[in-house]
């Protein structure tokens, strides 16, 4: 097990690299499978020093579920934003919201910030230096507390389960 760990410090990252390689060459010929596997093993080993605190994924299935929810929400987000953009602009209520963060892992915070930018009417725009609050710009807010509660419940909680498993 330890030998396995040493060879594959980040198994999911390796799998991702293999997939990217296969997509890039656009074939699943055996030669490219071998080359892709070699790259997928070598690159995490070479770059392992650059990962200050390596994200640990505790439950891959929850990650898959999270991605599915995210894709669905991106679809919805676009309909919402399209309606807001094409509607009368005077009636919009843009606002900055401070979102208190419970996540501590840097990678998880980055994923959360990206998620917020891709989902309905919100763009994350600044992280406080102590990594405790995220500044979000919302295109049209009716109630700040509801927006914060939705984000926390829908995205932050699953991310905590995936990356921190407390």
């Amino acid at each position: 097990m330890t030998a396995m760990n040493r060879l594959l410090p980040q198994p999911l990252f390796s799998l991702f690299l293999l997939l990217v390689w296969l997509l890039l060459v656009n074939t699943i010929a055996p030669g490219h499978l071998v080359l892709g596997t070699l790259l997928a093993i070598a690159l995490p080993l070479i770059s392992s020093r650059f990962w200050p605190d390596r994200p640990r994924i505790h439950s891959p299935w929850k990650l898959l579920r999270y991605i599915a929810v995210l894709l669905w929400d991106i679809g919805l987000a676009n309909l919402t934003v399209a309606r807001l953009i094409l509607g009368p602009t005077r009636r919009l209520h843009p606002a900055f919201i401070h979102l208190p963060l419970e996540l501590e892992n840097e990678f998880a915070i980055a994923v959360l910030a990206s998620t917020i930018s891709l989902t309905p009417g919100t763009v994350s725009s600044d992280l406080s230096p102590d990594r405790k609050t995220l500044l979000i710009h919302a295109l049209d807010v009716e109630d700040e507390a509801t927006t914060i509660a939705t984000i926390k419940q829908r995205y932050e909680r699953p991310l905590r389960e995936i990356f921190e498993s407390c």
Partner: protein
């Protein structure tokens, strides 16, 4: 049948790309303008890339999925660009001092 699906994705993609750019041109301040390109344009390009995947996969020489790579790349980079532009704007306005 497949042609209809491809055409549908092309129309949706083109429409969303246009809506994103209308947002960029029309909304009154920078932070609101950020919303159009990060969401609508990214999905618009995504739609066109999916149409491309379907089109080239239906020609008979195997699956052609490499356009997914561009889509993936755009979905990862769009929030980062938006975040950096927003921070640059906050910095220029002098709002980022603690």
């Amino acid at each position: 049948m497949l042609d209809t699906l491809i055409a549908l994705f092309l129309v949706i993609g083109g429409a969303f790309a246009l809506i994103g750019s209308i947002g960029l041109a029309r909304l009154p301040d920078l932070f609101m303008r950020l919303h159009g390109p990060t969401k609508a344009t990214t999905l618009g390009v995504g739609g066109i890339l999916i149409a491309s995947v379907l089109h080239f996969s239906s020609r008979g020489d195997g699956l052609s999925l490499h356009e997914l790579l561009v889509t993936l790349f755009l979905f990862i980079t769009a929030p980062i660009s938006a975040y950096l532009i927003a921070r640059a704007m906050l910095h220029l306005r002098g709002d980022d001092k603690p």
